[in-house]
Symmetry: C2
Subunit: 310 residues, 2 copies
DNA sequence: TAAAAATACTCCATAGGTATTTTAT
DNA sequence: ATAAAATACCTATGGAGTATTTTTA
């Protein structure tokens, strides 16, 4: 009869690709793990890993099985949390993933607000691209993620926190700096600088500038918006920045000018996603609201300031 | 550490509401089951059942937990089937649920076709209303269900098999019998006879006759279309019949007349649904196609016949 | 020939069984 | 008073450890 122990060991084995290290990870001896894997293979009617001299590599059956196994283990973890979740909300640590184009601007405010309003709340933060975040959310490594909505992948529930409009960042001496409001159609492929592949901000910018063929873009593998902005300041090109980065006030380089787009301004929606069926839904909905409060008043202040300076 | 054994026992306990009978169902002694339940309660941090003199009743925590437990057990069952599913398609029995307004007309043809084309295929059929079917599908009691699409509940994948248009069945001496095509607006609440609550055919008929207030309908608790048609034949009223019932040729009572609705004819879509993530997706998609083949040629024949007789 | 996984063998934790007591209606 | 669940106690299965052998790159 199939057991969770087998699935836990199998998950460790898939992670490490190595019986010995998997055993260490699972906190048991190598033969103990080997036995359970063998038993699991017997239950499922075929080999899950190919034993090589260098370790273990998942078979086709193993690849299908590990996905299901991880989903089951995540569901079990959710079930285990049922009791705790009935306690006061936001009193247990949340392992939170955040996309790179939001993390550095959101987190300071969020952590401030959180420690003020919910002193017992605790965040463990991880920053990476959406694809990895959704994977880790699905397999239970993360409890919730802050991403651009809607999400197409996975079986998640979501709550929107705020709309984040795009602005055009150009060198102050560029002709773009005079043209206000900016038009997406006026942007050329050979001047546009974007984050590397996989970053949702890149895809969003491309959908704003739908005229541009992505293959004609310069590619230089930047993974942080700050880097791209340095290049823009140095006159290497122009880029799209999300309002949240502007609002956070990190852009006071005189070599940079920010231009609003013509109405309707393009924007993305940032929100929280979590595993459907997570017992902590209340926690995550509360978190989405707190993120809203962390961003929206500040954004309005900023809008005021810009009107004054205009 | 939480184990599947605990969940299996808990599921049995929730089903029987009785430690002793649950133990029998699970194939262990009562104390063994009691111990595991107690351990599970400890893991989840609260009582799952309220012990009464007469047995055990789920607590609030228990109600939430049993849903998750059943989902986990279903996922485990799916995982266990992974290996088998890699065998030839349609070689393992399918536990199939079918709604009552389809079952008697579909099954004879389906079983015929199946035994001709896939001699090794085997169906275990259960007939009941959609709500029960979806529940049993979700908890793994059924492998697939044949229902009217779209389904609003549950985490299911679906494949449409055929469109099933509605006709009006009236007593041959009714004024409706002359009016052709029929108009939904001409139907009165006090002449319309429908299946009892919960049958999707009832809801579908009501949405065709959207003008009618359901509270004004005669209610007599019929659970089979054949019964309703008997009443219509006896002059008690009129009803909507799905084309599939007509095509099956069960309606040759001279006291009954079938009237087509004005174009566009109202219809419902019948298809197959199964648990998303079931490893037997290929089986069920094949089944949906076979159901299509079982119904559609026959329906076309019937359409021919009707044109000739008109 | 090294590293990795499987086998051999022993031990002990624990799940489960029977008998009995406690509890609730 | 009676049915149901919990407790006590014993047994045995099987999961896990150490030591060792076999495999494969």
């Amino acid at each position: 009869m199939l057991s969770l122990k087998q699935l836990r060991y199998f998950s460790a084995l898939a992670e490490t690709g190595h019986f010995g290290r998997a055993a260490t990870l699972a906190g048991v001896s190598q033969p103990a793990l080997s036995m359970q894997i063998r038993e699991l293979e017997h239950e499922l009617g075929g080999p899950l890993v190919e034993r090589t001299g260098a370790g273990a590599r998942l078979t086709e059956l193993g690849t299908e099985a590990i996905e299901r196994a991880r989903a089951i283990l995540a569901a079990v973890r959710d079930l285990e949390e049922l009791g705790d979740a009935r306690a006061a909300p936001l009193t247990r640590p949340i392992r939170l993933g955040v996309i790179p184009s939001v993390a550095p601007y959101l987190l300071p405010r969020l952590l401030d607000l959180l420690s003020a309003d919910h002193p017992r709340a605790q965040l463990v933060v991880r920053e990476t691209i959406t694809e990895e975040l959704t994977e880790e959310l699905a397999d239970g490594t993360l409890d919730a993620i802050v991403v651009s909505l809607p999400l197409d992948s996975g079986d998640f529930e979501t709550a929107a926190s705020f709309d984040d409009s795009f602005l055009l960042a150009v060198p102050s001496d560029s002709p773009h700096a005079d043209r206000s409001p900016a038009l997406a159609e006026a942007i050329d492929a050979d001047e546009l600088l974007l984050l590397s592949d996989g970053h949702c901000l890149r895809d969003q910018a491309l959908s704003v500038c739908h005229r541009i063929d992505p293959r004609r873009l310069k590619s230089f593998g930047a993974t942080s918006l700050a880097t791209v902005l340095q290049l823009v300041a140095a006159g290497q090109g122009i880029t799209l920045v999300p309002d949240i980065a502007v609002t956070a006030g990190v852009l006071n380089d005189p070599r940079l000018t920010l231009v609003h787009f013509a109405r309707p301004e393009p924007y993305r929606t940032i929100g929280v996603a979590w595993r459907r069926n997570s017992p902590r839904t209340a926690d995550f909905e509360a978190l989405a609201k707190i993120i809203h409060r962390a961003i929206v008043p500040a954004a309005e202040d900023n809008a005021e300031t810009e009107k004054e300076s205009a």
